[in-house]
């Protein structure tokens, strides 16, 4: 059964986020041969339409309005619902990002639709579109279907492979005019704290520090390593509680959930609280002085040693590898 499926392309700092390309790939599965329509919402975003097409959208609908310069749930919901009313899709996919988490339940509420949040896989099985999502802090998974409303899901970054970019693909980019009004919550100021460098939730490589880093300065070698690998720096609750870093870096049951290709845990004991935020990473490396540390139980590779010795050596070794390859 082919379906028309909308995908919201999420724009940050003037560029599309990777998770939007992953959402297009998911939408292709949901569409079962039907049309995938990209949606862009913002002040001046139509130039990004072509890229959504190159990643697999068939065409793009753009809603531009100066009241949509910054995300607000009211403004973006009005824009997206207007596109839904015009296109009458059977499916809708967003990234499970701060924006997607905030906006999707409102849209689901407005449309009185089911919604499957934080999907890590999607497949067609037995006539249904089946989403897989982690539950109980990643200790179990559930397979879920929507039984009423749109086939509506948000997809977790880094889990569904995007389609290969095809620069020869073309598709129509049309605009829809929406009267955006009655914004009840207005952003006055954005204080940048975490977003220098690579976004933690979308990073392919995460270098994470625990109590073993001992101080704020102790994060420096981790930052060096992250820079060489193009990765992001994270932390355990212990490191945040000890004030070595900002809570925005915390990975765990409270804090962020990450699933990078490579997770390097430095001086982290591996409390369950922390494992809940990173145990679904593809490859885990543990560096810890204590050979009995729990983190070695979930690690693919471990080095027993002082992180202040091991991490700089690793940084040098990765630099050499980069030069050779």
């Amino acid at each position: 059964m082919s379906r028309k499926v909308l995908v919201l392309g999420e724009v940050r700092d003037g560029s599309l986020r990777n998770v939007s390309f992953e959402a297009i790939a998911a939408a292709r599965t949901v569409a079962e041969g039907g049309e995938v329509v990209g949606v862009l919402v913002g002040e001046s975003v139509s130039a990004l339409g072509a890229e959504l097409v190159q990643y697999g959208a068939d065409r793009v609908v753009v809603v531009e309005n100066d009241k949509l310069k910054q995300y607000t749930s009211d403004g973006f919901a009005q824009a997206l619902v207007a596109v839904i009313e015009q296109e009458k899709p059977e499916g809708l996919v967003l990234g499970h990002t701060a924006l997607g988490k905030d906006l999707s339940p409102k849209i689901a509420g407005k449309l009185s639709s089911g919604l499957i949040s934080d999907a890590t896989a999607v497949e067609e099985a037995g006539g249904n579109i089946v989403f897989t999502r982690p539950i109980y802090s990643g200790k179990a998974f559930e397979k879920k279907i929507v039984t009423d409303g749109l086939i509506f899901a948000t997809v977790r970054p880094n889990n569904i492979a995007p389609l290969a970019k095809d620069e020869s693909r073309t598709g129509e980019v049309s605009s829809l005019s929406v009267d955006v009004k009655d914004l009840r919550a207005i952003i006055k100021e954005v204080v940048r704290k975490a977003s220098e460098g690579v976004d933690l939730s979308e990073a392919k490589v995460v270098i994470s520090g625990g109590r073993g880093v001992k101080s704020a300065d102790g994060f420096e070698p981790l930052k060096e390593l992250a820079k060489v690998l193009g990765g992001a720096v994270g932390a355990s609750r212990g490191a945040c509680d000890a004030d070595y870093c900002d809570y925005s870096l915390q990975i765990g049951q409270t804090g962020k959930v990450v699933t990078p290709d490579l997770y390097i845990a430095c001086g982290i004991s591996g409390a369950i609280q922390h494992l809940a935020g990173m145990s679904n990473s593809k490859v885990i490396v543990a560096i810890n002085k204590d050979p009995e540390a729990n983190i070695f139980k979930v690690a693919d590779y471990g080095i027993v040693g002082d992180l202040f010795e091991v991490v700089p050596l690793l940084t040098e070794e990765f630099k050499k590898l980069k030069v050779h390859s």
Binding site: I145, L262, G302, E317
Partner: protein, 257 residues
């Protein structure tokens, strides 16, 4: 000020997870107030203490949920409401819970509704915004700071580590992020007082809801545990050699670099 807290009783995910009959085995497991809802309860108490008014904690759950509601009362909430759906709803989803909560709240003239931003068991984060949408009031999710001046509200919101400062107004629904406050532990006098505080128990009937009004819009068809991970390799030898070996393994065996 008329303040409501949306609370969920959750399985403590620090517990070991096992399946029985295709479901998560809850026998003997520890149940707690969802940790993000503890921030919500604490914030509600602080807002009441600063502005006057009353804090009512609501939960959609079963009779066991009374224990977590009593804990909330012991922390300092004034009243609790349990909407017990155990006998009527077997497979609810976020729509079900949001619809029930909104039906209860629709004529309560709430000034402020606070929930956790996500529950640690099912982790969908949908219920708060869905309730706000059903009540047609604004909402702000994942907040780390709340300042109220009359009906004007300034909220700081965590957005993937950055902070957004948002201006809005009452009535309002917010969902709590870690960092909003430090939830208190119930004191002994608090626990004694909580036993006498009102805890109302309702069923769908009392809200004029039929089962079909709250029928889930999604369905879980399978629950499974992830494949057990094989023990990893702890490298040995000279530290320099270990580091070289690790980089080679990540490059050629794991192929992540």
């Amino acid at each position: 000020m008329n303040i409501y807290v949306l609370m969920k009783r959750t399985f403590d995910t620090e517990e070991k997870i096992a399946l029985s009959g295709g479901k998560i085995n809850e026998d003997g497991a520890e149940f707690i107030i969802n940790p993000y809802d503890e921030y919500a309860i604490e914030e509600a108490i602080q807002v009441r203490d600063a502005n006057g008014g009353e804090v009512t904690v609501i939960s959609v759950g079963n009779e066991e949920t009374e224990k977590q509601l009593r804990t909330a009362l012991a922390m300092g909430a004034d009243k609790a409401v349990l909407i017990n759906i155990e006998d009527e709803i077997e497979n609810g989803d976020q729509f079900t819970t949001a619809k029930i909560l909104a039906e209860y709240l629709k004529d309560k003239d709430a000034d402020l509704i606070i929930g956790g931003n996500v529950a640690i068991d099912n982790a969908s984060g949908q219920v708060g915004p869905r309730v706000a949408e059903l009540l047609t009031i604004p909402y702000v999710t994942t907040i780390t700071k709340l300042e109220i001046d009359g009906t004007n509200v300034t909220v700081t919101r965590d957005v993937e580590g950055d902070a957004e400062v948002i201006e809005t107004s009452l009535p309002l629904l917010v969902t709590a992020q870690q960092g909003l406050n430090e939830p208190r532990y119930p004191s002994l006098p608090g626990i004694m007082k909580a036993k006498k505080k009102p805890l109302e128990e309702l069923e769908l009937d009392d809200l004029d809801l039929e089962e079909e009004d709250v029928e889930a819009k999604t369905k879980t068809i399978e629950i499974y545990l992830p494949p057990k991970k094989e023990a990893g390799r702890v490298l040995t030898g000279d530290l320099n050699e270990q580091v070289q070996e690790l980089v080679q393994l990540l490059h050629t065996e794991a192929k992540v670099i």
